[in-house]
């Protein structure tokens, strides 16, 4: 069975492969004068050596795999819910008025985190209004 380190080593190798392919466009520079492609390629080589070490360590089974189930369904759902809401919030950023979007996001996050609805609403409204005033009104950020 593949453990976390073996999978990580393979993914890391893939990432390094893609990086190397991208560096082919960068000039390596003439002899003695390293160009923009020199260091990235050097790092890819170093990374590959490290991938071999990680792979070997994984094959020896020296690492305890993370048992995500041990966190429990409830906590996984809460964390997943927050990630999903944060993704939606980032996606809708700039398309909906910031104060409205943030209030809705924070209220839903509060509910996912099992705050009582009135507490979640008060927290959401309080934070959104305060931060909107601070960043838009005081710092003139284009929210």
């Amino acid at each position: 069975m593949l453990n976390a380190d073996v999978v990580a080593a393979l993914l890391w190798t893939l990432l390094l492969g893609a990086t190397y392919w991208l560096t082919l466009d960068f000039p390596p520079g003439p002899a003695g004068v390293p160009g923009p492609g020199y260091v990235p390629r050097l790092l890819v080589v170093v990374g590959l050596v490290l991938a071999v070490f990680l792979f070997r360590s994984g094959r020896r089974g020296q690492v305890e795999a993370v048992n995500w189930r041990a966190f429990g369904k409830d906590r996984l759902l809460r964390a997943g819910g927050v990630v999903g809401l944060l993704f939606l919030y980032t996606l809708l950023w700039g398309r909906v008025h910031w104060a409205v979007l943030s209030t809705g996001f924070l209220f839903l996050v509060g509910l996912v985190l099992k705050l009582r609805a009135p507490v979640a609403l008060a927290t959401a409204v309080g934070l959104s209004v305060t931060l909107y005033w601070l960043f838009r009104g005081v710092f003139h950020v284009m929210l």
Partner: protein, 500 residues
């Protein structure tokens, strides 16, 4: 003297003092909440300081940094749960002192000796920063490259169980730092034709994601149902003269040792306080009391918590090498303010060095007043519901990431860094090397290439023919090899398998 007067004038401006107090207040809240770290506090509050002059921005960030580390000791003493990783060792003796009805004394020791450790290390910062910076002015490209490698390797060697994992995140951070225009020839790299990426990956949103959002998600996964917390009676806070005399040697020893530990990249308050607790136990006349409510033990750990800060700032300010994750963010903030930490800071902006030293002193004065004057209120800080704080951290993280450049892409960087931070934490990959590599990447690469270009035919030999560069590279290699040898030796003795 004119520079000092200028610095003091900037520091004693009412707005600067207000920023400092806000920082101290925020640091108390975050430090006193178990699980929320000083790194997170500084990361999410950094965007609030970009609109302020550097002295005011630094006032808030240094206030947060120092007070969060100190306040982490409050829950460690009262409910046996460290508020920040730096106060882990305060749980060895603090709760036992509180349980025997002297919670106030334990809190008083936490405040007095955190302030002592912090001021002692600030004094060392004031004494050594200028000479170190003058010495570092002699550094050329080869030395700067070696310094970056030394900093990264030290961070890797102390920040995780696995050297290989630390190195992998370090290489990943270096590769990320190469997104954008090449530092020497302005050639676009890894930009996929998008002009938003020409400036590279913004450091602050990544930091906010890793240490703000990533930390919150990690906390959600590991949180337990909140139990009713009983706050013990506070009582007297000030130690007697005999108690002060008894704690003196341990505190002095810890102050000196922790300042040195703080100057080593990667070694933070958690490592320093555990080492100081252990070493002062060996030197104590009553070692049997350690771990059972020893006031000496508590004084040693509290001194060490804050004692590392001056050391970490010395390395960061003089060499541009952050001592820990918090100083890495501070370094990023200084760059955002238009100040480049390193020896040139002391030559071109020496007033800022004085400002930082003065702000450190003022931060500790504020902590002393707040700590001894309002402890009965402070002990209630950790009664704030974690869920409310998580919500606040999430919104501050997003709006703060965006606000730096008014760029929605930064919010995406923050989001993905948050997910990355969560995954890396779960699989035992340290975040410190990633942050440091992202920060030091451009400096390391440009100096590496400059050194090679200047060396001509000598090529890479330039790094080993210059004494300072050679010493730094040898130290870097030793810092990576020594833990592996140590692990193998332990494995041979205990029959445990080794993780390189």
């Amino acid at each position: 003297m004119a520079l000092l007067a200028e610095a003091l004038q900037a520091v004693f401006e009412p707005t600067t003092l207000l920023y400092l107090l806000i920082g101290v207040g925020a640091g108390v809240l975050i430090g006193a909440l178990p699980g929320l770290t000083a790194t997170m506090a500084v990361a999410i509050l950094t965007p609030l300081t970009f609109w302020a002059p550097p002295a005011q921005g630094l006032a808030m960030l240094l206030g947060v940094y120092n007070s969060a580390i100190w306040a982490g000791g409050i829950p460690a003493i009262l409910i046996n749960t460290p508020g920040t990783p730096a106060s882990i060792a305060s749980t060895f003796d603090g709760p036992a002192i509180a349980q025997r009805g002297e919670a106030g004394l334990a809190l008083g020791i936490n405040t007095i000796y955190s302030v002592f450790g912090g001021l002692f290390s600030t004094l060392l910062l004031a004494i050594f920063a200028f000479p170190i910076a003058r010495f570092a002015l002699r550094f050329g490209p080869a030395e700067y490259f070696a310094l970056a490698i030394f900093g990264l390797s030290m961070m890797v060697s102390v920040s995780g169980k696995s050297i290989v994992k630390g190195l992998i995140v370090g290489v990943f951070g270096l590769l990320l730092s190469m997104v954008g225009l090449d530092p020497m020839l302005s050639y676009p790299r890894f930009t996929f034709g998008r002009f938003e990426l020409l400036d590279g990956i913004s450091f602050i949103p990544v930091m906010i994601g890793l240490f703000g959002v990533g930390e919150v998600l990690d906390q959600i996964l590991k949180s337990r149902e909140e139990q009713t917390r009983i706050i013990p009676r506070i009582g007297r806070q000030l130690p007697t003269r005999q108690e002060l005399a008894r704690m003196g040697p341990a505190a002095l020893f810890s102050a000196a040792v922790s300042a040195v530990i703080g100057a080593i990249p990667g070694a933070g308050g958690d490592i320093a306080s555990i080492i100081c607790w252990d070493q002062t136990r060996r030197l104590s006349k009553k070692p049997q009391e350690y771990g059972k409510g020893s006031i000496e033990g508590l004084a040693a750990t509290c001194t060490a918590n804050n004692g590392v800060i001056g050391g970490a700032l010395t390395t960061m300010l003089t060499l541009g090498l952050p001592g820990d994750s918090v100083t890495a963010i501070l370094l990023g903030s200084l760059i955002m303010y238009g100040l480049q930490p390193g020896p040139l800071l002391f030559r071109d902006h020496a007033d800022m060095a004085y400002v930082i030293i003065a702000l450190m002193v003022l931060a500790y004065v504020a902590i002393l007043i707040v700590g001894l004057g309002a402890s009965r209120v402070l002990v209630r800080a950790f009664m704030v519901r974690k869920e409310v704080v998580w919500t606040a951290v999430l919104i501050l993280s997003t709006v703060g990431s965006y606000a730096i450049n008014n760029n929605p892409l930064d919010v995406w960087f923050m989001f993905f860094a948050g997910i990355l931070g969560l995954v890396l934490r779960q699989y035992g990959y340290p975040l410190g090397p990633l942050v440091l590599a992202l920060l030091l990447g451009p400096m390391a690469e440009s100096n590496f290439r400059r050194a090679l270009t200047a060396a001509g035919d000598a090529g890479a030999w330039v790094f080993v023919t210059r004494p300072i560069s050679l010493i730094l590279l040898i130290l870097a290699a030793l810092s990576l090899v020594a833990p592996i040898i140590q692990q193998r030796r332990k494995a041979r003795q205990g029959g445990v398998t080794v993780q390189p």
